[in-house]
Amino acid sequence: MWKAAQVTVQGRGHKIADKPCQDKTYILDSPPDCFVVSLADGAGSAEYSELGAQCVTQKICRVLNENFTRYFATEESGSVAEEILSFLVEDLKNLAAETDCEIRALASTLLAVAVKGKQFIGVHIGDGVIGVLDENFLAVMSHPDNGEFINETIFVTSSNAISHLRLYKGELEEISAFVLMSDGTAEGMYQRDTQNFMPIVEKLIRAAKLLPPHEVEAELKANFQETLCKVTADDCSLILLVKEPYDSE
């Protein structure tokens, strides 16, 4: 059995500017055996990016839940990436029409992980980091896709998004957790030079395995506000997707 805890905190910069938090998360528990989580960071320069982020987080969870088995079985990952992106862009176009804005005003990154039975699929566009705990060793599965400069990245709405959409799939075997973080959280918890997580991430995963999600979320929110938000002005979000301890399945 898998469970997930998430935290999303508005950054100092957006508080001062009286702008909404542009990080969004979504969790879809689809019994009996599919669990999908996603996180998106709306582009600071895009007017309605928080709406775009909300839209793509919900859509990717539904798409991965509905098509998991087919996507996993497909050898041709390019066609899967194209289909996923077309689903996302279709919903963004509809949202742009409703909101009366250009689609680029809804720009955001996207990170998602789906687990079903003994398999997983990961999807990543843009910055932020996805990590995996395999045989109790925490490793980065998907690194941030930044340009050279800190304020450059790729968004779901970017014209070259398809060539930057990264797909991962595999057998779960000894994997017992995934972690997804936005670039704001990564600013404090991911080391760019060594391309590894700070040790705190492993501790958070251990706690998430042992405690109920609502307790983890409350504690994380307070800690993010108290500490992480002091080292970055950006919005911060995190999802811990963990397998229940002592769960042999």
Binding site: A43, G44, N151, T194, I200, N223, T227, V231, D234
Partner: protein
């Protein structure tokens, strides 16, 4: 014994501590003899006449020179950056002075490890050599950021001159080619600024793909450096991932646009050079 909920405690030392993204700024400044031209203030003519490089000068005592105003502008700029809570950690300034040769008179460092540089007059205007040195230093600094995992913004190059280049022409062409390529690839922001009536704006405009330069109005160094420090502060306060929009409208308070196409000066438009 550690409680489970203690695992969720995040202390400052649990987080990466080099998180402030840097803005590298190189001031590439003309300190040739013509910067000693007196522009205003109380001065007395010595009665002599000097002809230098075919130009006639009347030596005076007293008065305020272009160099005096530039020095004051730099001092105000350093002070502004030191006084800004965020920019003091984010901005890293380097100064290259060019006259007979190019010299780095203040290398990149955090502003608290730097003294405000003092400019010294030379003779010639080795602009190409100066810009090439500035680009090399910016490139080296970016490598250093990368090697230690420090995030950074697009670097800035401020090029200021009151004359025409008379260094090695090959170095000048190389500097122009390198700069325009970097600006085209969005890897550099350049401010090519002409000072006084003798500045060769035509050459300065060649440093940008759009062939635009900025003519500094009267000796408004102070206004320019105030604008520059505000822009650095704005960049350092921007959120990661956010495109930084500089207040280009405010450029018109200290400069006007020179276009190589029209060869005219006009009010500053809403864009960078």
């Amino acid at each position: 014994m550690e409680k489970i909920s203690d695992l969720l405690k995040i202390r400052r030392e649990d987080l990466r501590n080099d998180g402030t993204p840097r803005v590298a700024i190189c001031l590439c400044l003309d300190v040739s003899g013509s910067m000693s031209v007196v522009e205003f203030g109380d001065f007395k003519k010595t009665g002599n006449v000097v002809v230098k490089d075919g130009k006639k000068y009347i030596p005076v005592t007293g008065g305020v020179t272009r160099m005096d105003e530039l020095q004051r502008g730099i001092e105000a700029f350093y002070e502004e950056i030191r006084n800004d809570a965020k920019a003091q950690y984010s901005a890293e300034i380097c100064v290259v002075a060019f006259s007979d040769t190019a010299e780095c008179i203040s290398d990149f460092a955090n502003i608290y490890r730097q003294e405000t540089p003092h400019l010294k007059l030379g003779d010639m205007t080795a602009m190409g050599e100066g810009v090439n040195m500035a680009l090399d230093l910016l490139e080296q600094r970016k490598k250093e950021y990368k090697s230690v995992g420090v995030d950074y913004y697009q670097p800035w190059l401020v090029l200021m001159t009151d004359g025409a280049p008379n260094g090695d022409p090959n170095e000048l062409e190389r500097a122009i080619a390198r700069t325009t390529q970097l600006v085209s690839e969005k890897k550099l922001t350049i401010f090519p600024i002409g000072v006084g009536e003798t500045a060769n704006l035509e050459t300065l405009a060649r440093f940008t793909p759009k062939h635009h330069a900025i003519k500094l109005e009267k000796l408004r160094f102070k206004e320019f450096f105030e604008w520059l420090s505000e822009s650095v502060e704005k960049t350092s306060q921007s959120i990661v991932g956010e495109k930084v929009e500089l207040n280009t409208k405010a450029i018109s308070q200290w400069g006007s646009k020179y276009s190589a196409e029209t060869k005219e000066l006009e009010p500053w438009p809403d864009e960078l050079p």
